[in-house]
C-alpha cells in the first residue's frame, strides 16, 4: 500500500513542474536555530545537486527540486547528522529538523558549548552570564575589517578607542572612562603592560585573528580583580577543538596613503639594543663613533605591500584526553599618516583676554611606520578524567614598530627660522604569559580551580634618534624672503627599556550547596617588579672654532661631545626608576537562584595593595623611595531576572578601584619652560560605586536587543592639576579631584531578515569633573598675573555619543558574506590643557569600512577588508575664537583647528583555508 502510494506520488511528481523544500534546523535541546546548518538531498545514497543552508532567519530553502523520493540530510558542526526521507511532489514542502548534540566522550567536561566562536553561542553566553558584559566572537571578528584587537574594540557597545599615530585603535575608553580605569585580561588572567609608566595595555599589540572571543565586562563580580571602573577587556584565545582543525590565511594589502606620499623608512639591521653606558659602564666616555647614523638614512619603499599570515592547528589526541590549539599570526604592515599640526606655545597670551592661545608654528607631520606584529598562542588541555583537568596556556606577542616622523615646521610668520625635524623610533613591545591551570571536581559539590601565572611585558626603544635641520628666512632689501644655508642641529640618541615581571597565583573554590545555591571563595597573590631604563646622549654639531655646521648629508656630518661631560651617560635621569607591587586579594561570593528564577550573585572582595618605588631624586629630597599600602573592600551584587526564556532584566552594583600609574607616584621633577611636572606619592587610588540596569532580549535567529543604563560615582579621580609647591611655586602633578560623576545609557540591537542583517549599538555618556587650571591674564592695574581657577568639564576621552551600525549580508547558499560598518565617535576631550578653556577637543568622527568573504571549493574562501573608505580625517580643536583665518584649514570663526590627521584607505585581499 505504502509502496503504491510512493509510486503514485513519484508519477505525479514527474509530471509536475518542480517543488520547493523549506524548513528550520534547530538545536534539539534548546530549539535555537542553527544558522549555517547544511541540507543535502540524497538519492539512492548519493548526493544530488540540490541542497541548501539555513539562513539568518533560521530557515532553509531548496528550490526547483524535481519530484521524487529522496533522503534529506541536515548537518551542523558538533551536532549529530539527521536524515529524513522525503517524497517531493509539487509546490511547497516543509520539513523541520531538530539536531541532537553530537555525543562525545567527556563532553560536558571538555566544552561547555558548541562552536564557541559563532554568533549563536556568543549571544547565549551573554544571556547566561552572571553579570553585564558584551561579547564579540571569532566569526564576527573574522568578518570585521579589523586586523588588531585595538580596532575590534570600537565595534563593541560603550567602547571607543584612542588612536595611535597611524590611526589604529590603541586604547579603549569604556563608557567614557579613560584607559586608566580599565584592565586587560587574556583567558581571564590579567596581563602586565609594556608601557613604561602606566598599567594600561596598548591593544594594538594583539592580532585579532588569534581570538576566540573578545569580552568587555562592565560589572565586576567578587571573583574578578577589582581595579576596573569602566570595564575589563578579556581576550579569550582560541582553544582546542574536538577534532582536527586547520585554518590558515594569507593576505596582502596596501595603504592608499602611499599613493600620494612616499613611504620613507629606515633599516634597523645591526641596531645596538644596549646604550654605550650599558655596554661599557657608566664611567665610559662615549665616542661619536659609538653612534650610528643609519636610523637617519631614510629609504623610500616604492610600493609598500602589506603581508598578513595566520595559521592555527588544533586537535584532540591520546584518546581525546589531550587537546591542543596552536595559533600563530604575523602581520607586516606599512602604515602612516599625515598631520597638520598647529603648535601652541606652552603659555597662552594675556591679551586681549586671559588665556588667548598663541601659536608658534604650523607643522606638517608625516609618519611612515613599518610594523611587524607577531602573535603566538598555545592552549593545551589534558583531561585526566571527568573530575580533573589541566590547562596550559602560552602567549607571546611582539610588536615591532619602526616609526619615521618628519616634521616640516613652516612658521606662522614670513621670516624666521624653518626647521625640518626627523625622528626615528624603533620600538619593540612584548607581552608573554604562561599559565598553568587546574580544574578539579573534588566532590560532586566542591570544585577547585587554580592558576599559576608568569607574565612578562617588555618595551624597548633602542637608539631612538632625533635630528633637526634649520635654515633662516630673512627679508632682503626689497622685503623678499631669502633662505640661508641649511645647518644641522645637535642630534640626540635615546635608549630606553622597561619591563614588568608579574608572578600571580589564583585559587578558587566553588561549593554547590544545592542546585540553586552556589558558594564560592578564593583569592590571588601577585608579585610584580618593574624596572625602567633611560639613557640619552646629545651629540654636538658645532665645529672646531665654534662655527655652525652646514648640512651636507647625515653621513658627512661631524659630531662631537661638547662639553665633554656630555659623553657620559645620564644614568640619573628621572625616568629611571623601579617599582614593585604586591596584591593580595580574597573574596566570598554566593549565587542563589530563587524559586521565581531571580538569580542573585553577590559577595565581597578584599584587595590589599602594597606599592613601592625607588627613584633618582636625591637623598636630600623627600620621597626618593616610598611604599604605599591600602586595603579595599569591594562589595558587589548582581541580580538577573529572566522575564522569559529569551529575556533578562539585570540590576548590578559593584565597587571598583583604579590604582595610580606606577610612575605617577614617583616625585621625580621634570622642569618645563612653563611649568614643572612631578609625580605625587600622596596620590590616592580612585574608588567608584557603579550601578547598571539592563533589559536583554535574545530573540530567535540571533536577533538581539539590549537596553540599559549605568551610573558611576567616582571618588578621588586622578587628573593633572596645579599643586602649590612652596609659597610662590606651583607644579603640575597628578591629583585627586573630589568626586566625579558619570552616567549614561546603552542600546544594542541586531535584526536579521533572511540573508540580510542590521546590527548596531549606541551609547550616551555624561560625566563631569572639576579640576584646577591656570589662568594667565592681567589684573586691574594691567600687571600680568598667573592665577588658579576651577573648571568643570567631561572626563578626558568621554564622548557624549558613540555609535556603531553594520549592514550584514550572509548568503550561506552562495557562500558569500559581506559587512558594511560605520563607527561614530562623538566629540571628546583628547588632551586636557593645564590652562583654563584650552582643552583639545576631538571633533566627532565617522569611519566606514567594508569587508566581504566568498567561500569556494569546500575549504577555501577569499576575503577582502577595505578600511576607512571615506578617508575621514581626525580633527582636533580648541574652543576659542579664531583669528587665524588666513591659515590653512581654519574655517570656523568660533574655534581653532590645532590638528588634522589623515590616514587614507587601506585594502586587504586574502585567501583563507579551513579544514
Amino acid at each position: 500500500m505504502k509502496l503504491l502510494l510512493y509510486a503514485f506520488l513519484l508519477l505525479a511528481a514527474a509530471t509536475a513542474q518542480a517543488a520547493t523544500l523549506r524548513g528550520t534546523v534547530t538545536d534539539g535541546k534548546t530549539g535555537e536555530p542553527l544558522i549555517g546548518a547544511t541540507l543535502q538531498l540524497m538519492k539512492n545514497g548519493t548526493a544530488t545537486r540540490y541542497g541548501g543552508v539555513v539562513g539568518l532567519d533560521g530557515q532553509y530553502h531548496i528550490n526547483d527540486v524535481p519530484a521524487g523520493s529522496y533522503v534529506l540530510r541536515a548537518q551542523y558542526v558538533s551536532y549529530q547528522t539527521v536524515e529524513k526521507a522525503v517524497v517531493v511532489g509539487a509546490g511547497l514542502m516543509t520539513t523541520d529538523f531538530a539536531l541532537p548534540e553530537a555525543s562525545r566522550d567527556l563532553a560536558e567536561v571538555v566544552v561547555s558549548g558548541s562552536d564557541r566562536e559563532g554568533d549563536r553561542s556568543v549571544r547565549k553566553a551573554e544571556q547566561k552570564a552572571d553579570n553585564v558584559l558584551n561579547i564579540i566572537g571569532a566569526k564576527a571578528i573574522q568578518l570585521l575589517p579589523d586586523i588588531t584587537v585595538g580596532n575590534v574594540l570600537q565595534r563593541i557597545s560603550g567602547v571607543s578607542v584612542v588612536r595611535n599615530a597611524t590611526g589604529d585603535g590603541q586604547f579603549a575608553v569604556i563608557r567614557g572612562m579613560d584607559k586608566r580605569y580599565n584592565y586587560t585580561l587574556v583567558n581571564g588572567i590579567k596581563i602586565p603592560s609594556p608601557d613604561n609608566k602606566n598599567r594600561y595595555v596598548p591593544m594594538d599589540i594583539f592580532p585579532a585573528d588569534l581570538l576566540e572571543r573578545l569580552e568587555v565586562v562592565k560589572a565586576l563580580t567578587p571573583s574578578m580583580e577589582g581595579d576596573a571602573i569602566g570595564g575589563a577587556m578579556n581576550m579569550i584565545m582560541k582553544s582546542a577543538p574536538n577534532h582536527l582543525t586547520v585554518s590558515a590565511t594569507a593576505s596582502g594589502g596596501y595603504s592608499q596613503l602611499f599613493s600620494s606620499q612616499p613611504f620613507s623608512g629606515f633599516s634597523t639591521a645591526g641596531t645596538q639594543f644596549k646604550s654605550p653606558s650599558e655596554l661599557h659602564g657608566n664611567q665610559y666616555a662615549a665616542q661619536p663613533s659609538d653612534f650610528s647614523v643609519k636610523p637617519l638614512q631614510y629609504r623610500t619603499v616604492s610600493f609598500p605591500v602589506n603581508g598578513l599570515f595566520s595559521l592555527s592547528v588544533g586537535n584532540r589526541l591520546l584518546n581525546r584526553r589531550l587537546g591542543f590549539m596552536l595559533g600563530g599570526s604575523y602581520q607586516h604592515t606599512y602604515r602612516g599618516s599625515n598631520s597638520l599640526f598647529f603648535r601652541l606655545n606652552g603659555q597662552p597670551g594675556p591679551d586681549p583676554v586671559a588665556n588667548t592661545p598663541i601659536f608658534e608654528m604650523v607643522e606638517k607631520r608625516t609618519y611612515s611606520n613599518e610594523q611587524g606584529r607577531l602573535g603566538l598562542n598555545l592552549k593545551l588541555d589534558y583531561v585526566f578524567n571527568e573530575r580533573h583537568k589541566l590547562n596550559l596556556y602560552g602567549l607571546f606577542m611582539q610588536l615591532d614598530d619602526k616609526q619615521h616622523r618628519n616634521i616640516y615646521g613652516n612658521q606662522l610668520t614670513q621670516y624666521g627660522d624653518v626647521s625640518i625635524t626627523d625622528r626615528s623610533v624603533f620600538r619593540r613591545q612584548n607581552v608573554a604569559n604562561v599559565t598553568l591551570q587546574g580544574d578539579h571536581k573534588l566532590t560532586d559539590r566542591l570544585t577547585m580551580n587554580w592558576s599559576a601565572v608568569q607574565s612578562l611585558a617588555i618595551s624597548q626603544t633602542p637608539d631612538w634618534v632625533d635630528q633637526s635641520l634649520t635654515y633662516r628666512t630673512a627679508p632682503d632689501a626689497e622685503g623678499k624672503p631669502v633662505a640661508s644655508a641649511i645647518y644641522i642641529d645637535p642630534v640626540t640618541h635615546y635608549w630606553t627599556h622597561n619591563q614588568d615581571r608579574d608572578l600571580t597565583g589564583y585559587l578558587n573554590l566553588t561549593y554547590a550547596l544545592s542546585p540553586s545555591l552556589e558558594l564560592a571563595t578564593g583569592g590571588l597573590y601577585r608579585a610584580k617588579n618593574r624596572s625602567n631604563f633611560f639613557n640619552d646622549y646629545t651629540l654636538a654639531t658645532v665645529l672646531p672654532g665654534g662655527d655652525r655646521q652646514v648640512f651636507a648629508g647625515i653621513d658627512k656630518a661631524i659630531f662631537s661631545f661638547r662639553p665633554e661631560s656630555y659623553a657620559y651617560a645620564d644614568s640619573t635621569n628621572g625616568n629611571n626608576y623601579t617599582a614593585q607591587e604586591r596584591i593580595a586579594a580574597g573574596y566570598v561570593q554566593a549565587k542563589v537562584t530563587l524559586p521565581n528564577q531571580l538569580q542573585l550573585l553577590g559577595g565581597l572582595r578584599a584587595e590589599q595593595t602594597q606599592q613601592a618605588y625607588d627613584s633618582q631624586i636625591p637623598v636630600t629630597a623627600t620621597g626618593k623611595s616610598g611604599t604605599i599600602s591600602y586595603l579595599d573592600l569591594l562589595p558587589s551584587l548582581h541580580l538577573k531576572y529572566p522575564l522569559s526564556s529569551r529575556a533578562n532584566l539585570r540590576l548590578s552594583y559593584f565597587r571598583g578601584i583604579s590604582r595610580p600609574g606606577y610612575f605617577e607616584l614617583v616625585p621625580a621633577m621634570f622642569p618645563g619652560d612653563y611649568f614643572s611636572e612631578q609625580g605625587n606619592y600622596a596620590l590616592k587610588h580612585t574608588v567608584a560605586d557603579n550601578i547598571d540596569l539592563r533589559y536583554e532580549l535574545f530573540a530567535k535567529n540571533n536577533d538581539q536587543l539590549l537596553i540599559g543604563g549605568f551610573a558611576k560615582n567616582i571618588k578621588n579621580p586622578i587628573e593633572y592639576g596645579f599643586n602649590q609647591f612652596t609659597n610662590n611655586t606651583y607644579v603640575y602633578v597628578p591629583l585627586n579631584f573630589g568626586t566625579a560623576v558619570n552616567y549614561g545609557a546603552e542600546l544594542v540591537f541586531a535584526k536579521y531578515i533572511n540573508q540580510w542583517g542590521v546590527s548596531g549599538n549606541y551609547t550616551y555618556t555624561h560625566s563631569r569633573i572639576t579640576t584646577s587650571k591656570r589662568v594667565y591674564g592681567r589684573d586691574a592695574s594691567g600687571n600680568i598675573v598667573n592665577s588658579i581657577e576651577n573648571q568643570t568639564r567631561p572626563l578626558q576621552g568621554q564622548s557624549d555619543h558613540i555609535a556603531n551600525l553594520s549592514l550584514i549580508y550572509k548568503s550561506v547558499a552562495h557562500g558569500f558574506d559581506a559587512q558594511l560598518s560605520w563607527v561614530y565617535t562623538g566629540r571628546r576631550i583628547n588632551i586636557v590643557s593645564p590652562y583654563k578653556d584650552l582643552d583639545y577637543w576631538q571633533r566627532g568622527t565617522s569611519q566606514v569600512d567594508l569587508s566581504a568573504e566568498k567561500r569556494f571549493g569546500g575549504h577555501f574562501s577569499v576575503f577582502g577588508k577595505f578600511q576607512n573608505l571615506l578617508n575621514n580625517p581626525v580633527i582636533v580643536e580648541v574652543m576659542k575664537p579664531n583669528n587665524l583665518g588666513n591659515l590653512p584649514e581654519q574655517t570656523r570663526p568660533d574655534r581653532i583647528l590645532v590638528q588634522k590627521d589623515a590616514f587614507g584607505q587601506t585594502y586587504i585581499l586574502g585567501l583563507r583555508y579551513r579544514h
Binding site: G346, D417, Q616, Y776
Partner: protein, 471 residues
C-alpha cells in the same frame, strides 16, 4: 690790632672747626671686625652637606660634595676666602641655598668660587670648543624655592654651570645643565655686585623668580653655544645695570615672563656695555645684545653696544626660532630710549634694529635713526645700514675700533682692554636719567645691595663720574 685780633679769632675758629672743636682728643681709626655668623667653618674637611657659620677671610676651602645652606641657616663668606671645586668628571658640585648665603668680598680681597686647576685660555680668537670656560667644571649657587638671600659682592664665579648628575634642587632636572647663579624663589633677595662671572655652558645667571640687583659686574665668556649673561623668567624683578659684558654666546640680558610664576617679570636694564655678543649661538641666531620677550615688562636705557650681532630686540609678534617660540613682550609696559650702537660690518649694521622684530627706533638713540633708516621705516623692516658702519666710535680707553681682531667674535674677555670712555667720547652725555631704578632689594652692607647706582647720562658701564663699574 683790631685786624690782627679779628684774624687770629678767625684762624682759631677755623682750626676749631677743622679739629671738630675737640682738639685735645686723639683721632683713632681702627679696622672693624669682619661680619661673622655662628662658628667658623674648618678648612680641614672638604665642604659637603649642610654648612652654616662663616668661611673665614683669606682661607681656602675645598668642596667635596653638594653644599647645603639649610632653611633658617646663614653662611657668610668673608673677604679673600676661596672656594675651590675639584672640577673632575662626576664632581659637578653646587651650593644649594635654602637659607641665606652672603659672599662679602671686597675690592682688595675678592671671594673666589673657582676651579684652581683650570687654566684660562684668554687669547683672542681661541677655539671655544677647546676652552675650559665652557666645560662646566662645577654646578652653581642655587637658590631653592625657599631661598631667603643670596648676596654676592666682589666675588669671582668661574668655570661653573656644568651638567648635573642627580639634581640637588627641585627645579632643575637630573642631567640638566646648571647655571652658575640661579634662584627659584620669587621672594628671595639676590644681589650680584662688583663681581666677575667667567664662563658657563649655558646662562651664567638664570632667574626663575626673585628680587634682583645685578650691578657693576663683568661678564666674560658666557654660554658655549647658547646662553645669555642673565636669563630672566617669570616672578623676577630688579635692575641689571653698569655691567660689562664681553663675548656672550647670545644676548647680554634677556627677559621673559614664562615659567608661570608671579609677579610679572619687570626689569630695568641700563648703563650696560656689551661688546661682541651673539656669535656663539650654534642654533639659529637669536639675538646679540638685549632681548625682551613673552610678557616681560620694564625698560632699557643708556646701553652701549659695540659690534654685537643684533641690537636690542623687542619681540612684537609671535615667531619661531629653532623650536623656541618667540612670544610678544608686554610692549604696552615697556619703555626704552637712549641706546648707543657701534658696528664694524654692514651685516650687523643691518640689525641695529633687528629685522622682523618690534624695536622702535628712538630719536635719542645713537646713531640717530634718521641718519640711516629710510623714511617711512616700520619696525622690523629690512634696511641698508652701511651708512653707519664705523661711525660714532665711542672711543674706549683701550679697545681699538674698528676692531682689529680677525673676526668680531674673537673678543670674549676683557684682558688688557679698558672699556672706559675717553674724555672726548661722543658717548658721554647722550643718556637719560628720566627714570628711577627698581628698589626691590634693601640697601645694606651685608644683607642687601651696597649701592643701587642711579642712571648716568654717560653711555655704558663706565660713566665719567666714576660711580659705575669699578673693575
Amino acid at each position: 690790632m683790631k685786624h690782627l685780633l679779628c684774624a687770629s679769632l678767625l684762624a682759631t675758629a677755623v682750626l676749631a672747626t677743622l679739629s671738630g672743636c675737640n682738639s685735645a682728643d686723639e683721632t683713632v681709626v681702627v679696622s672693624q671686625p669682619l661680619f661673622k655668623v655662628g662658628q667658623a667653618v674648618s678648612t680641614k674637611t672638604p665642604l659637603s652637606g649642610p654648612v652654616k657659620g662663616t668661611l673665614q677671610s683669606d682661607s681656602t676651602y675645598r668642596v667635596g660634595g653638594d653644599v647645603y645652606v639649610n632653611a633658617g641657616d646663614t653662611l657668610v663668606i668673608q673677604p679673600g676666602a676661596k672656594v675651590y671645586f675639584p672640577g673632575g668628571t662626576g664632581q659637578v658640585y653646587s651650593f644649594i641655598v635654602h637659607g641665606t648665603l652672603l659672599s662679602l668680598g671686597t675690592q682688595a680681597k675678592p671671594v673666589y668660587f673657582t676651579v684652581p686647576t683650570a687654566v684660562k685660555t684668554d687669547t683672542y680668537g681661541a677655539d671655544p670648543t677647546a676652552d675650559p670656560a665652557y666645560k662646566g667644571l662645577w654646578g652653581g649657587i642655587m637658590g631653592e624655592t625657599d631661598c631667603k638671600n643670596i648676596i654676592l659682592k666682589w666675588t669671582h664665579i668661574e668655570f661653573g654651570g656644568g651638567k648635573l648628575g642627580t639634581s640637588p634642587v627641585t627645579y632643575l632636572a637630573n642631567g640638566a645643565n646648571s647655571y652658575p647663579l640661579t634662584n627659584a624663589n620669587p621672594d628671595a633677595i639676590v644681589v650680584l655686585e662688583d663681581s666677575w662671572v667667567y664662563g658657563s655652558v649655558d646662562d651664567p645667571v638664570r632667574a626663575f623668580g626673585g628680587r634682583y640687583n645685578i650691578m657693576r659686574n663683568t661678564f666674560e665668556k658666557n654660554g658655549f653655544t647658547s646662553g645669555e649673561s642673565m636669563n630672566i623668567k617669570s616672578g623676577s624683578v630688579g635692575n641689571f645695570a653698569y655691567n660689562l659684558i664681553v663675548g656672550s654666546a647670545t644676548n647680554g640680558p634677556k627677559a621673559s615672563n614664562n615659567g608661570g610664576k608671579n609677579p610679572q617679570t619687570s626689569f630695568l636694564f641700563y648703563n650696560n656695555t656689551m661688546v661682541a655678543c651673539g656669535y656663539r649661538r650654534a642654533a639659529a641666531g637669536r639675538g646679540g645684545s638685549l632681548n625682551i620677550e613673552e610678557g616681560a615688562r620694564g625698560g632699557f636705557y643708556n646701553n652701549l653696544m659695540v659690534n654685537c650681532k643684533y641690537g636690542p630686540r623687542v619681540v612684537g609678534a609671535t615667531a619661531n626660532y629653532s623650536g623656541n617660540a618667540l612670544v610678544v613682550a608686554d610692549t604696552a609696559n615697556l619703555r626704552y630710549s637712549n641706546n648707543y650702537s657701534y658696528v664694524d660690518s654692514v651685516a650687523i649694521a643691518n640689525q641695529i634694529y633687528p629685522v622682523g622684530f618690534a624695536t622702535k627706533p628712538q630719536t635719542s638713540d645713537v646713531p640717530t635713526p634718521s641718519s640711516f633708516l629710510p623714511t617711512g621705516y616700520k619696525p622690523g623692516q629690512a634696511y641698508d645700514g652701511s651708512a653707519v658702519v664705523g661711525k660714532n666710535n665711542p672711543m674706549f680707553v683701550n679697545f681699538p675700533l674698528p676692531q682689529t681682531t680677525r673676526r668680531l667674535s674673537d673678543v670674549s674677555v676683557v684682558n688688557t682692554f679698558n672699556f672706559r670712555l675717553q674724555s672726548a667720547s661722543p658717548a658721554l652725555g647722550k643718556g637719560t636719567t628720566s627714570f628711577s631704578p627698581a628698589s626691590v632689594v634693601p640697601v645694606s652692607a651685608n644683607f642687601g645691595s651696597t649701592e643701587i647706582t642711579l642712571p648716568s647720562t654717560d653711555m655704558g658701564a663706565f660713566p665719567a663720574n666714576g660711580k659705575g663699574n669699578q673693575h
